[in-house]
């Protein structure tokens, strides 16, 4: 997703000299082409995320469109109050981009696991929150977020993420992409876990269970219409996110369902339980322990549907 992001950003900058890219001393073998082509619109501010965010707000107050890029929780939690007061309160044209969403940094350990960002960023007024499902979405999301006048958060996974979309989807902020049709249940995924979700759906199809898969790349504003439509048409909703079960996609969808008055929906959240990783492992290994592997998702869906039929 990283490469798709920077390609898309370079294209943006070619057509819009307001585009700035600030990095917090990261981006090795990624951001160099941007820095070389647009040296006056690039700054490596050093390892100083609070300052980076304030600078971005200051630039935006001077009519720049500023992308901040860093890794893990550094561009969000480390400088959260700057995001709230300097970026969101001013409704400033600042886009925060984090690489390593979810458990992408696996064995680097829990300091580098990005597992509360969606919940926290979602709580901010004026903030749009996007977690693209694959590199295709990441490129489109970068373009789309640039079209917003105000703040945005873009959660990327890593390098070499699998491509889910074989054809360019219609990407609109706040509109879920239907990746797969089906009427037995709806799997709503956000971020890089979309790939495992689609694979789980294929496995379920082999068992005769046809699930709809939505890529809910935009967590805020949430596509309420798609959630309600899926609830009506499939009767069962499972949310899948590489994120804490508290406050992210599952919570956002639950809020919609709870207020919808349709209480006969079977509903389940799959995500990270309220804890830090207690074991060391690759992303794949950690996902397996959290029911976020293809097997884990498949089983969780199956058991929800089994309960429903009883």
């Amino acid at each position: 997703m990283r490469a798709a992001f920077i390609r898309s950003l370079i294209n943006l900058a070619r057509n819009d000299d307001r585009v700035f890219l600030l990095v917090g001393d990261v981006g090795y073998s990624l951001v160099e082409p941007f820095a070389e082509e647009f040296p006056a619109q690039f700054v490596n501010v050093g390892i100083a995320e609070q300052n980076m965010t304030g600078i971005a707000a200051g630039l935006a107050l001077c009519d720049k469109m500023v992308f901040i890029y860093s890794l893990a929780n550094f561009p969000t939690l480390r400088c959260f109050e700057q995001i709230r007061n300097d970026v969101c309160y001013h409704n400033a044209n600042v886009k925060i981009v984090s690489s390593g969403g979810g458990l992408a940094y696996g064995a680097l350990g829990a300091t580098h696991h990005v597992t509360e960002d969606l919940a926290i960023m979602r709580a901010l007024p004026n903030m749009t929150v996007i977690a693209p499902g694959d590199p295709v979405e990441a490129g489109l999301a970068t373009q789309a977020i640039a079209g917003l006048p105000g703040p945005g958060y873009l959660r990327l996974a890593k390098t070499g993420d699998p491509v889910v979309h074989q054809r360019t989807p219609n990407f609109q902020i706040g509109r879920a992409i239907t990746v797969r049709e089906g009427n037995d249940a709806t799997l709503i995924a956000t971020g890089g876990i979309l790939n495992n979700t689609v694979q789980a759906a294929e496995r379920l199809a082999q068992r005769g269970i046809q699930t709809r898969v939505l890529s809910m790349h935009t967590i805020k504003p949430l596509d309420i219409e798609s959630v309600l439509e899926s609830a009506r048409e499939t009767g069962a909703i499972i949310t899948i996110e590489e994120h804490s079960m508290i406050g992210g996609l599952g919570s956002a969808v639950a809020e919609v369902l709870a207020e919808s008055g349709n209480y006969r929906i079977a509903f389940k959240r799959i995500g990270i339980t309220d804890s830090f990783s207690s074991v060391v492992g690759s992303q794949e290994y950690l996902l397996k322990g959290l029911s976020l592997s293809v097997d884990g998702i498949t089983d969780a869906v199956q058991s929800l549907l089994d309960t429903k039929t009883h």
Partner: protein
């Protein structure tokens, strides 16, 4: 002799303006039962010079691209800043009566959207980074404006100030001026006792700023320093203004309590009398 008279007249004008700000602040905090008078009074003389002889701003064109920017990083001195902006015509003086009140346009910390206010502040340690961004934009766009940022001494405890202090010299932001209201008192005690900043000038110098220390209540010194920025080419400027919290009112000077208290009726009368202002 003409020069002398002219300068005297200018100084008298600054002083009268500073007195106006202090009088407004007294009335505003009295009416609102709000706080932070002490810090408002330590910067009143600085504001008077900035807004009457230094800043290239025009209340009829508040968004003029080449205007100088003034960022108040210690946003809790909103009463003094609003009084200044109102006196300079950015919004009607009557608005000051609504400070801190239900339904007002003027909250207790300086807020973007109030005419003339360039940024929202209130959480300490944010203003210098925002100012670096504005100064950087000015450099990259070849604009002539300068950015003046007023910091509190207590807020220099915040690490983000020092992140920005590293950034500005590295990027040669000589269009940036940090003014530190060094009144030696912070929220819960003397700076020296809470978290000593001394030697403060040496710290800024070591970070790469061109530094001048002045008496922040001496109009000549204030004007002289502000007129001569940047002090060095290619370097940001830092003015350490030695000030007195509560300056101008005998019973408020150097009293921590006036970071919090608002004047009662009697104290208001006494303070206005000391300023030589009638109610």
């Amino acid at each position: 002799m003409d020069n002398m008279n002219c300068s005297d007249a200018r100084i008298a004008r600054y002083k009268a303006f500073a007195t106006q700000i202090r009088a407004h602040v007294l009335r505003m905090t009295h009416r609102a039962k709000s706080s932070h008078i002490g810090g408002c009074f330590s910067i009143a003389d600085l504001l008077a010079v900035l807004y009457n002889g230094i800043l290239q701003v025009d209340h009829t064109q508040p968004n003029m691209p080449d205007r100088d920017r003034f960022i108040i990083s210690k946003g809790h001195v909103a009463a003094a800043v609003y009084a200044t902006l109102a006196e300079r015509g950015f919004f009607p003086l009557e608005w000051l009566d609504t400070f801190y009140q239900d339904g007002s346009h003027l909250p207790g910390h300086v807020t973007y959207g109030v005419p003339g206010a360039e940024a929202s502040t209130g959480s300490l340690g944010h203003g210098l980074s925002i100012s670096c961004g504005i100064a950087l934009a000015g450099k990259r766009d070849n604009r002539s404006y300068r950015v003046f940022t007023l910091l509190g001494d207590g807020e220099c405890d915040e690490g983000s100030i020092w992140e920005a202090a590293l950034f500005a010299p590295h990027h040669h932001l000589d269009n940036l001026v940090a003014i530190i209201d060094y009144n030696k008192i912070q929220s819960f005690g003397m700076v020296k006792e809470v978290l000593d900043l001394d030697p403060l000038a040496e710290k800024w110098r070591a970070f790469g700023w061109a530094v001048k220390e002045i008496d922040g209540h001496d109009i000549n010194q204030i004007e002289n320093s502000l007129q001569n920025v940047p002090f060095e080419p290619e370097q940001p400027s830092c003015i350490i203004a030695h000030t007195i919290k509560g300056k101008g009112i005998s019973f408020m000077e150097n009293q921590l309590a006036w970071h919090y208290r608002h004047p009662n009726d009697e104290e208001l009368q006494q303070a206005l009398a000391e300023l030589g202002v009638s109610e």
